[in-house]
């Protein structure tokens, strides 16, 4: 069940430089699972396409969704101005979400790929280890992860916190093992995590990104290459918005 409606802004706060947390009251919450995303629409009639943003937290009791995003352009800049009580057009939940598997899971987030891991970490049934990569010591959501997971490892590009280097450096350095890995972040990170998983024969789910128009699987704008001929398109193209954004690392070309 997908909903398009005006959500009400309950709360917005700045978490780090250019990173905002937005809590919305919306009926989408009733159907949302971790790893799904919502489309947020601009109020400006010249900016028509949705901004896809992953769900960071789902609170069914309060009927709220939380998203965390980085300001990178005009749309996210506009969202960062939203204040309590404002209304904003949203559509969702979109995409497939993460399957909740494993007794021993690692959730891996890089940069603005960190937020979708939070609700996942909370809902995963087994023991969860989180590995989060940031640019520098301008961290965000680490307190929330500390509460949600058994072990939290941090990697920073400049070494100011945790391991200097990538999330995979942190995973290797700490000899992490698991029966499933979930990852969201920039493509090079996903590639490295998928390689790590393959080496260690761990099942690995990755969350992909692509430019979107419809967000519901109709326009074929957001495809990624799949290794096998896929069922919908019959041409090795999977729709990130509908068949994903979560894929097995082995089924897509990273």
């Amino acid at each position: 069940m997908k909903i398009k409606e005006k959500a009400v802004v309950l709360w917005q706060e700045k978490l780090a430089e250019g990173v905002y947390s937005l809590t919305l009251e919306t009926n989408i919450v009733d159907y949302a699972v971790p790893g799904q995303f919502i489309s947020i629409f601009s109020n400006d009639g010249s900016k028509l396409l949705p901004r896809p943003i992953s769900i960071c937290e789902i609170n069914k009791d309060y009927g709220t969704l939380r998203v965390v995003y980085r300001v990178v352009g005009a749309g996210t800049e506009e969202f960062s101005q939203l204040k309590m009580g404002d209304k904003v057009e949203v559509m969702g939940p979109l995409g497939n979400g993460f399957p909740l598997e494993g007794r021993n899971a690692i959730v891996v987030g890089g940069g603005i790929g960190v937020p979708p891991m939070l609700e996942l970490a909370k809902q995963l049934p087994g023991k969860v280890t989180a590995v989060m990569g940031y640019r520098n010591n301008d961290l965000f959501l680490t307190e929330e992860f500390e509460k949600a997971v058994a072990n939290l490892y941090i990697a920073t590009d400049d070494g100011s916190v945790g391991v200097r280097g990538t999330v995979v450096d942190a995973m290797r350095e700490n000899d992490l093992v698991a029966d499933v890995i979930y990852a969201c972040g920039p493509k090079p990170m996903l590639r490295a995590v998928a390689d790590f998983a393959l080496e260690n024969q761990i099942k690995c789910y990755v969350s992909m990104e692509e430019r979107m128009a419809c967000g519901v699987g109709a326009c074929l704008g957001c495809v990624c290459k799949s290794k096998e001929t896929d069922e919908h398109s019959h041409v090795n193209n999977k729709r990130v918005c509908k068949d994903g954004p979560v894929f097995l690392s082995t089924e897509v070309v990273l």
């Binding site: 398009k4 009639g45 028509l48 949705p50 128009a213 519901v216 109709a218 074929l220 041409v235 193209n237």
Partner: protein
């Protein structure tokens, strides 16, 4: 109040369709829209065999519009018939217009012949105007001789009425419309997308992998209205008007300019119920203006 319109003997319960390529075969949007309420579902372009389309990024936003370079990805006519047409079986009130693409006359004809005996197919829209594929597509649509010839070839093989979909990337759209009419087209539809480009100034590179993309959305609407108007006064076959239709006013504008029916494309992406919202807006307009029959406003602005 009558909202029925008739194009080449096919009766549509109302003049609202969605535009090819923006709605799949309706499956995905059926969560938002009762397809049975639409005048027609116009499917994504379908070819004789599966087409992989272009590399990504395929989509980018521009002011009041977007560029796309999907490159006519489609699963081929076989899968289309088995899956998409079967899915559409259940929507009896809605007509089905199948958009057909190809690299050559032979490929168009292969698709048209395969569809000839499919009872769920009410009409064919022949896309000779897609700017996002190298061969075929727009090249046909920019040369009146080619338009006339391909129309004639397709028409002889088609069992359903054919609508030729015209490209706006031409000096004189009237010439193309007349060529389609001369070739025996039952109707024309316009406009397809306008070729545009976006460059990322930070990366100093094209935003789209395909370099150029087809522009659509509200930004192109005034050009589309002008072209529909010009064609309506140049040919006597019916016109399906499209290009940037977002509100009911846009749709009425197109009909006043001469379109018998209209298609809604890009608007679906930011308003999944755009088609039905537009339909109810038109109905309100008819009540308010005391318009008994929607056909009475077609092309009355001259």
């Amino acid at each position: 109040m009558n909202t029925k319109v008739n194009i080449a003997g096919v009766e549509f319960q109302n003049p609202i369709m969605e535009a090819s390529g923006t709605f799949g075969s309706g499956m995905e949007y059926s969560e938002f829209v009762d397809l049975n309420k639409l005048g027609a579902v116009v499917t994504k372009g379908v070819a004789n065999v599966p087409w992989p389309g272009n590399p990504t990024p395929r989509i980018t936003e521009v002011r009041s519009g977007m560029l796309n370079a999907i490159g006519l990805q489609n699963p081929g006519v076989e899968v289309f018939c088995e899956r998409d047409l079967k899915f559409l079986e259940q929507y009896k009130n809605t007509k089905v217009v199948v958009n057909v693409c190809g690299h050559s006359a032979e490929e168009y004809i292969e698709v048209v012949e395969r569809l000839a005996d499919e009872s769920r197919v009410d009409m064919l829209e022949i896309n000779i105007s897609c700017p996002n594929v190298k061969e075929g597509g727009i090249a046909f649509g920019q040369d009146p001789k080619a338009v006339e010839e391909i129309t004639r070839l397709v028409k002889t093989r088609a069992k359903q009425p054919i609508v030729m979909k015209l490209s706006p990337n031409v000096t004189d759209i009237k010439v193309m419309a007349k060529a389609a009419e001369a070739g025996g087209a039952d109707a024309i539809s316009l406009i397809n997308t306008l070729t545009g480009m976006k460059i990322d100034v930070e990366r100093q590179n094209f935003v789209l992998a395909n370099k150029t993309g087809g522009m659509s959305g509200p930004a192109v609407h005034p050009i589309a209205v002008r072209m529909v108007y010009e064609c309506a006064n140049a040919v006597s076959i019916p016109i399906i008007g499209m290009g940037g239709i977002t509100t009911w006013e846009d749709a009425v504008e197109m009909m006043l300019a001469g379109a018998t029916a209209v298609s809604v494309g890009t608007a679906n992406f930011f308003n999944p119920t755009a088609t039905l919202d537009i339909l109810s807006g038109i109905e309100d307009y008819m009540v308010r203006k005391n318009i008994e029959d929607i056909n009475s406003i077609i092309g009355i602005v001259k």
